[in-house]
Symmetry: C2
Subunit: 128 residues, 2 copies
């Protein structure tokens, strides 16, 4: 499978990827992917990313079970950002929230939590 022209050069081999709930439109997370991760995503139908800290490809949910089944992959006008529209199992955030974007920055700079917890992260991650 040959990928279309995607500009991985601007970020040293990576592009930012937005994961969006394909049913509700809610934004779940932002991560990064390299060429191989994008190919794996298209081939398997499950969201794959590249971890900048661990320096390797990871499949979302591989250890937690909270996988993302990919309904659609989109590319932006400049060919340097991707969008995965996904069916999220359980929740996307490692803190237990459905979405990683659960903190609102108010006009005065203060933070307010806005989102729902869908699992207890201690149940999932206590083994690490």
């Amino acid at each position: 499978m040959k990928l279309p022209d995607i500009d991985f050069n601007k970020m040293g081999g990576l592009v930012p990827v937005i994961a969006q709930d394909s049913d509700t439109g809610e934004i779940l997370m932002l991560a990064f992917a390299n060429k191989e991760a994008v190919k794996l995503t298209l081939q398997t139908g499950r969201a794959h990313y590249y971890s900048r800290s661990r320096k390797k490809i990871w499949e979302k949910g591989a250890s937690s079970g909270h996988i993302q089944e990919v309904a659609e992959v989109r590319l932006d006008c400049d060919n340097d950002s991707l969008l995965y529209k996904v069916h999220q199992r359980v929740g996307a955030c490692h803190t237990g929230y459905y979405s990683c974007f659960h903190k609102v920055i108010e006009k005065n700079g203060e933070l307010r939590i806005s989102g729902k917890k869908v699992f207890n992260p201690e149940d999932i991650y206590k083994k690490y």
Copy 2:
């Protein structure tokens, strides 16, 4: 105004910012912001970003008129990505589409356009 703890260090002073239509949930674009651009966004209520190529802050729509009125700013769990929920005037993409993410990558790697054109870019950008 004091910003909350945002991790600008991972990307040399920048964080990726997703712009999402606050009414429909459609994702409009992905860009980057530095600290000053985030402050300007919160203070003015209009989306500001930082251009990596031009190396300066820009207000979306400053030349085209296609501004983004910001309804809400959100921060993710790791404090290294932002979400602007916006009211988009006319269209977000410089190519004339409402959203920058108007190209679908099919499973075989081929591209398919999926999106609506809402203006003729030649009417806006011919002066540049």
